[in-house]
């Protein structure tokens, strides 16, 4: 402990239980474990020294950004250390000419756009949690967001990294390479959920601010019509930058909260559409999309008349999870993807799964990507309700995979979907992932027990994560 304290300083080491308590879980709040110690280093060098020391004692390490992850990826492990990047938030370089930025991994997502917007640039991936989540967490989870429909998840934007490996070695891949030299280590690291090493610096591509943006809100009398409109917009080849659906219960939650934006409470669903580009491009795309909405029985379309109105519509969409918190003490945020041609039937299927179990489901999702978020409001103190929530989560994942879908579009696997990995991957697929992980971290002490289901023969050295018998539900 003294050695660690000497590396990170007094402020960088938390060991007493009151100060370490906030680090017991991430957004998957009922998976909890008290870390032995929380380290908050200030630089790549400090991270490297800490990891070298911990490695020499075979102590497991769990990386943590802002702890907004929803799958338990940053849940501590017993006997392990939690290493957070909260004190590494510098913008190192904004290169407007070549459109990239180099930042420390703890930088909050929205602060990157703040740092480059004066140059007419922005950082495109915009998770709804962007006011809190870190770039390092975004990299580890390959996070998405509403505008990733046009711009793609984090992996499309990361062009360099500095990674500290489990043994403390520093892998400097920060140069903004046009193409990787040798194997694409950066591409492979993105989405590895903290199991390959700790990203301390991130180099990202910046996107020019569009000349014009048009925001439309389509109001529908049925969720089916809203879903069908999205499928038709995609099949019709219209270029939207975001296509987001909110259902009636979500609208009610949002309108009853500080995020109220005037979404019509009597609507069964609204579709929030954004198009961007030049003024002409926006106009032509918006007209094409409006015609499709009309064909699908839209009751009314509102156009944001000002930037302020646009911001309000988006604040309501991005604040939806927060607003849902008012309905019940806990929220299970599911994240599955289905083919975009099957939106209507899969939204129905997930709704039926929940209602059949007497659960309250609220839908707010990235419809343009087929990325569903069937969210369940519940109270985890009610053990029977918690059991039904977990069962519904498993069932939704199963039906989506059977329909050609996948387990996660942006939140990752973490602890929450460990068991479900076998629905999607064969033993050989998973074995290969274990092998690749061992190439990065032969000690397997980086974030053990996450993402890859443990098979006794594969991970003899991994310490078990103390998962409460009950399982996986979000908050």
């Amino acid at each position: 402990m003294a050695h660690l304290r000497a590396i990170v300083g007094e402020e960088g080491l938390l060991e007493d239980s009151s100060r370490a308590a906030p680090y017991e879980c991430d957004g998957l709040a009922h998976e909890r474990c008290r870390p032995e110690v929380v380290l908050l280093p200030r630089s790549t060098l400090e991270v490297s020294k800490c990891l070298a020391l911990l490695h020499s004692h075979s102590i497991p390490v769990v990386p943590r950004g802002a702890g907004t992850g929803l799958t338990g990826g940053a849940t501590p492990v017993e006997g392990g250390v939690l290493l957070g990047t909260a004190r590494m938030r510098r913008v190192i370089e904004v290169n407007a000419k070549d459109r990239f930025a180099r930042v420390e991994a703890g930088l909050v997502n929205i602060d990157l756009t703040r740092a480059c917007c004066d140059e007419g640039l922005f950082y495109a991936p915009d998770p709804s949690s962007q006011a809190a989540c870190s770039l390092g967490g975004n990299v580890a989870n390959n996070s998405g967001g509403p505008h990733c429909f046009k711009h793609g998840n984090t992996t499309r934007h990361v062009i360099g990294l500095v990674i500290v490996m489990a043994n403390g070695e520093v892998l400097d891949l920060s140069a903004p390479e046009v193409d990787p030299v040798g194997y694409d280590l950066v591409g492979l690291f993105v989405g590895s959920e903290g199991m390959f090493g700790i990203a301390t610096e991130v180099t990202v591509r910046l996107t020019p601010t569009p000349e014009a943006i048009e925001t439309l809100l389509g109001v529908f009398a049925s969720l089916d019509d809203a879903c069908d409109s999205v499928s038709a917009i995609i099949a019709g080849g219209w270029d939207a930058s975001a296509l987001e659906i909110l259902d009636k219960l979500t609208i009610a939650a949002v309108e009853a909260s500080v995020f109220a934006a005037g979404y019509p409470k009597d609507a069964e669903a609204v579709l929030l559409v954004e198009v961007e580009g030049s003024a002409v491009e926006c106009h032509e795309n918006a007209e094409g999309i409006l015609a499709i909405l009309a064909d699908h029985g839209v009751l009314e379309v509102r156009r944001a008349q000002s930037e302020r109105e646009r911001q309000k519509l988006w604040a309501a969409r991005k604040g939806a999870y927060g607003a849902m918190g008012r309905i019940a003490p806990d929220l299970y945020v599911s994240d599955v993807v289905v083919p975009r041609t099957k939106l209507r039937e899969m939204v129905r299927a997930t709704t039926d799964i929940c209602t059949a179990r007497g659960l309250k489901i609220l839908n707010v999702f990235h419809a343009g990507d087929g990325n569903l978020h069937p969210n369940i409001s519940y109270d985890r103190r009610d053990s029977d309700e918690l059991r039904r929530v977990i069962e519904a989560g498993d069932e939704m994942a199963r039906v989506c995979v059977e329909a050609g879908g996948t387990l996660s579009g942006e939140h990752g696997i973490g602890l929450e979907k460990l068991a479900q990995m076998k629905l999607y991957f064969s033993d050989e697929d998973l074995e290969l992932m274990h092998t690749v992980r061992r190439a990065w971290d032969p000690s397997q002490n980086m974030n053990p027990g996450k993402l890859l289901p443990i098979r006794a023969c594969m991970e003899t050295r991994t310490r078990p994560v103390p998962v409460e018998a009950s399982g996986r539900a979000g908050s």
Binding site: N141, N153, V178, Y183, S278, E281, G370, T406, T435
Partner: protein
């Protein structure tokens, strides 16, 4: 039994071929995944080393390994597995040509990326393994970003999946990103899924002639700063004439296209303008005007847009006096290909100039590699990697291919 006979046993007579790329070596072309698997198992059992390829169009991108017993081509592993036009995705077997896939999706108003040169001679698997891109990179970004998932045959005979067929998916590690650009050194990609894009509704091609490289780069910079979002922007020098052509491909919805064309015409008068089908034909000609044709080797320069002019100057200075062929520059993505004329000098001279060029380019953050080269040491041909990155790459190679049946000589070094 000779090696050729053993291989024939597995793939049948029609699967045993010869190829100008591998003189004197048996070449096998399995017709299905199972025969490919048997070939891998055979190589394991007999300690044979094999080189993977598609149709051979990008074999020169990494130096030929010395130790190969036979080569395996995917060209018979053809066919579309799933084409979901309304979902914007395509899954095909690795030996399908990019041209055939491109023609298929075009019928539904879609396009795939990368739009590689001579697409009917390039396979999906080969393009993926070479990490290739085309002129459409300016619009769509590097080709590796559009691979949604793969099925790959591992050296040990297992067929494994990574990613999937959906446009958004973060389930499991993105192993397919590792295969992109790995030059067949880790696994044989059997099938790959791609994200598709809406094909432009209308097109226009403009050509500007300029006296020298500086003027051509200057015009390109102005165009890049105009927020025209051109689809392609290519500078070309034929090697024989003195002038440079600057080709701009515009695409989009009618009114948008017209507006951009007018904005561009306001400050530079094009020497040639083509619309509609003629513009498409022009873009295909530009794409296929690969500098490799008729040259002994091509220098591939990767830089940053702001440093491209300096990097080009440094490169040309290092090769002054040596006969050069065609030069193609994509300023928007800071890439340049410079062909070396055949019989332009000795191999030693080439190695020396490459070294000098690298010394000048390194401070500019630019990289240089040689494609389709005469036999040079891999380190002379490609940028070196060192330190923990190289060690990690070697561990990854070891993890995939512990018995080293997959021969490769990529930037990671001789395997």
């Amino acid at each position: 039994m000779s090696l050729a006979e053993s291989l024939e046993d597995i793939v049948g007579r029609e699967g045993l071929e010869e190829s100008a790329h591998f003189p004197g070596l048996p070449v096998v072309a399995p017709a299905d995944d199972e025969s490919a698997r048997e070939l891998f198992l055979f190589a394991q059992a007999e300690s044979k080393s094999l080189r993977l390829f598609g149709r051979g169009s990008k074999l020169g991108w990494s130096p030929t390994p010395k130790q190969i017993d036979f080569a395996l081509s995917t060209h018979r592993l053809q066919g579309v597995i799933e084409f979901e036009a309304e979902d914007g995705t395509l899954t095909a077997r690795a030996g399908s040509t990019m041209g055939s896939l491109r023609d298929l999706v075009a019928e539904r108003g879609l396009e795939l990326s990368p739009d590689v040169p001579r697409p009917h001679g390039a396979t999906l698997g080969g393009v993926l393994a070479a990490g290739a891109s085309g002129p459409d990179r300016l619009r769509h970004g590097p080709g590796r970003l559009h691979i949604l998932g793969t099925h790959a045959l591992l050296p040990g005979g297992e067929i494994t999946k990574s990613g999937g067929r959906l446009v958004k998916n973060v389930t499991g590690y993105d192993l397919h990103r590792l295969y992109a650009g790995s030059h067949g050194s880790l696994a044989l990609v059997l099938e790959a899924s791609l994200r598709l894009f809406n094909a432009p509704r209308e097109r226009c091609a403009l050509r500007f002639e300029r006296e020298c490289l500086d003027e051509a780069l200057g015009l390109a910079e102005k165009i890049s700063n105009m927020t025209l979002a051109p689809r392609t922007l290519t500078l070309f020098h034929s090697g024989s004439e003195s002038s440079w052509s600057v080709d701009v491909g515009l695409a989009g919805l009618g009114a948008e296209l017209e507006r951009n064309r007018c904005r561009l015409a306001q400050f530079a008068r094009p020497d040639e303008r083509l619309d509609g089908a003629a513009a498409l034909t022009r873009s295909e000609e530009l794409r296929d005007r690969e500098p490799h044709a008729g040259s002994s080797a091509v220098l591939h320069l990767a830089s940053l847009p702001s440093r491209l002019a300096d990097a080009c100057e440094a490169l040309l200075a290092s090769f002054e006096g040596r006969a050069l062929g065609k030069i193609t520059i994509q300023p928007g993505v800071a890439l340049a290909d410079l062909a070396l004329a055949p019989n332009g000098g000795t191999t030693e001279d080439l190695a020396r100039r490459l070294q000098a060029a690298r010394t000048a380019l390194t401070p500019l953050g630019a990289r240089l590699s040689l494609r389709g080269a005469p036999r040079l040491a891999p380190n002379a041909q490609n940028d070196c990697i060192g330190g923990p990155a190289l060690a990690l790459m070697k561990r990854l190679k070891e993890a995939y291919d512990p018995t080293r049946i997959l021969a490769s000589n990529g930037p990671v070094g001789a395997h």
